[in-house]
């Protein structure tokens, strides 16, 4: 188990060779699965390659268990990267692919064969060793790539968008496999992805990056309940931003004076409440806000309502049964539970 620390890690690219990273300080805890999340071009793959030793940072440090590894070339660093499309070697069989890392380390043949076979069993591809990689499906290739990395027992496992080339049903299968293997082996794992849902399901913690900088590093749930700013909230599907001012546990805005949960930031900013956390109320209830329904869209398992409160548009997501009685034009009432709202302070 290895703790990975990035200390003011910086990389600038001259041309269009890659996304830059600025002053990234971050600690990936021992034995956990952490997601590096962000839109494409935010520098997450650059960061991963710096951890793997495939890109040399301009400045800053990468430490494994507190010791700098920058002087170590990738082949001895023990941070094995699994690339986006698996990148199996087409001129080798499945077993030779999986055994590649062990062969490079000079492991005896018999031991390689045994470990490769055991590893293929663990990724649920028993007996596939003699096959050509060209004959495998995309999902199988991805699992072989995972096996090829894990069989070397790396200090750190780096996964670059491991699910992005897979169909929806293969995706959930692969997701479960990654999670199970990570828990079993306890290898510190860093997952790069642009898909917040993937990050939430897989990762213990998420590091969200925008534009080469770390924006928020926290357990997944916090990105929903306690986003740091509007961009973070929006990236996680948040909506409903009401400008105003927070002071002494109350948010003063066009909707009135709304109570805030403990610990909410103070000062001018935006109040945010996720669409699924706004409740429908009876007109006249204590704390209820009168609104007019302007749109209703059935989403399948949920219904999306758009309502007008004064001149503010708010989006709600409610169970279809609850929302069915409301049509565009109807008057309704909503309630913002104090524990479900949060304040996004204005960025200085």
């Amino acid at each position: 188990m290895t703790r990975v620390t990035l200390d003011r890690l910086t990389k600038h690219f001259a041309g269009a060779d890659g996304a830059s990273v600025r002053d990234l300080t971050l600690e990936f805890p021992c034995g956990e699965l952490t997601a590096l999340l962000g839109p494409s071009g935010c520098g997450k793959t650059t960061t991963m390659k710096m951890i793997a030793g495939l890109i040399r940072p301009c400045s800053g440090e990468v430490r494994f268990d507190g010791r700098s590894v920058l002087h170590q070339p990738p082949e001895v660093r023990g941070a094995v990267m699994v690339f986006q499309n698996g990148l199996l070697f087409p001129f080798l069989s499945v077993a030779e692919n999986v055994g590649f890392g062990l062969r490079m380390r000079g492991t005896p043949r018999a031991e390689i064969a045994a470990r490769v076979e055991a590893m293929l069993d663990r990724v649920r591809l028993p007996g596939i060793g003699p096959r050509r990689v060209q004959d495998l499906s995309g999902g199988q290739q991805q699992r072989v790539a995972l096996a090829r990395a894990l069989v070397t027992e790396p200090r750190v496992l780096l996964l670059d968008e491991p699910l992005s080339n897979l169909d929806a049903h293969l995706r959930s299968e692969m997701r479960d496999l990654i999670r199970d293997l990570q828990r079993e082996t306890g290898i510190t794992t860093i997952l790069v992805t642009h898909d917040q849902e993937e990050a939430v399901v897989l990762a213990d913690r998420i590091a969200l990056m925008f534009d080469g900088e770390l924006r928020q590093f926290a357990p997944a749930a916090e990105f929903y309940a306690r986003p740091r700013d509007r961009q973070v909230a929006e990236f996680f599907g948040g909506a409903n931003f009401v400008p105003g001012r927070a002071a002494a546990g109350v948010f003063d805005c066009a909707l009135g004076r709304l109570p805030l949960p403990a610990g909410a930031p103070e000062g001018t900013g935006c109040l945010t409440v996720r669409p699924e956390n706004i409740l429908l109320a009876e007109p006249g209830d204590a704390g209820a806000l009168a609104v007019t329904v302007i749109d209703r869209v059935f989403l399948g398992t949920q219904t999306r309502l758009v309502v007008l409160a004064g001149d503010l548009t708010l989006v709600l997501i409610r169970p279809p049964a609850e929302a069915a009685r409301l049509s565009p034009g109807d008057a309704a009432a909503i309630r913002l539970p104090p524990e479900a709202v949060w304040v996004l302070p204005e960025r200085p």
Binding site: L54, P74, L87, G101
Partner: protein, 266 residues
């Protein structure tokens, strides 16, 4: 219908390629063969006997040609591989110009640059020597080698080598165990081109070798103009041998390996 058409076109192609060689083969075993006879009136193996005797210089020329073509191929790989890798995998300023320059020896007639090169090689003391011939043969062979390999490298994912390093391979072992196998089909094609282009050089060998470096095409030409049709036929048969061997080899080993060229892309 389509099968019949395919067989017909195949037959035509074979006739087209093989028919011109038939008289050559017949000449190599003919003593006298005059118009309008369909076949020679007197058969003989004199031509082949002469070819096999050291006196004719054919065996020496065969060795010289093979040696030069082999050296040229090896050097073309050594020089062409890094160049092709840079052209195939990296973008840089002036790349189009560099590609144009590399292509130039194929576009410009050999005789045009050979005369200029001759005086340069005299200045360098490289004329009348095997080394000079090998060097000058690199000029028309390198473009083929580089173009073929650059295409292969362009299809290679740049992350493939990074993946191998990440899995624990040193740069040298990445080349040996990943890059080399990945480009193998292209390397064989490029080497084949280089060998055959060198094998068939006439003007450059004559000019730079100054007649001292006697390769098979030079010998063949002198016999062809001397009227010894049986010798010309026999030497001609030997001369086309590598082409035929390589064709057989290529059809056996290179077909269906397209998948090996670009790596696995889902």
């Amino acid at each position: 219908m389509t099968a019949a058409l395919r067989n017909l076109s195949l037959a035509l192609l074979i006739v087209w390629l093989v028919l011109p060689l038939l008289p050559l083969a017949v000449w190599s075993v003919a003593k006298s063969w005059f118009f309008p006879d369909l076949l020679p009136s007197v058969w003989s193996l004199d031509g082949w006997a002469h070819v096999a005797s050291p006196r004719s210089g054919v065996l020496a020329a065969l060795w010289e040609t093979t040696l030069i073509a082999g050296l040229v191929t090896a050097l073309a790989i050594l020089i062409g591989l890094p160049a092709a890798r840079a052209l195939g995998m990296h973008r840089f300023r002036g790349k189009a110009g560099v590609e144009m320059l590399i292509l130039a020896p194929i576009l410009v007639p050999g005789l045009a640059y050979a005369l200029g090169l001759h005086s340069v090689f005299i200045g360098l003391g490289l004329t009348n020597s095997r080394a000079g011939v090998v060097i000058v043969h690199l000029i028309p062979t390198l473009p083929y080698m580089i173009l073929v390999l650059a295409g292969v490298f362009a299809n290679l994912s740049p992350d493939m080598e990074a993946q191998a390093r990440s899995l624990g391979a040193s740069p040298l072992r990445v080349f040996r165990h990943v890059t080399l196998p990945a480009i193998r089909p292209g390397l064989i094609v490029g080497a084949t081109f280089a060998f055959l282009v060198s094998w068939s050089q006439y003007v450059l060998t004559l000019l730079i070798g100054g007649g001292r470096v006697e390769t098979l095409p030079l010998l063949l030409f002198s016999y062809a103009t001397s009227g010894r049709n049986d010798l010309t036929g026999a030497i001609g048969m030997i001369y086309i041998l590598p082409g035929v061997l390589i064709l057989l080899f290529a059809s056996r080993h290179l077909t269906g390996q397209g998948a090996g060229l670009g790596g696995v892309r889902p």
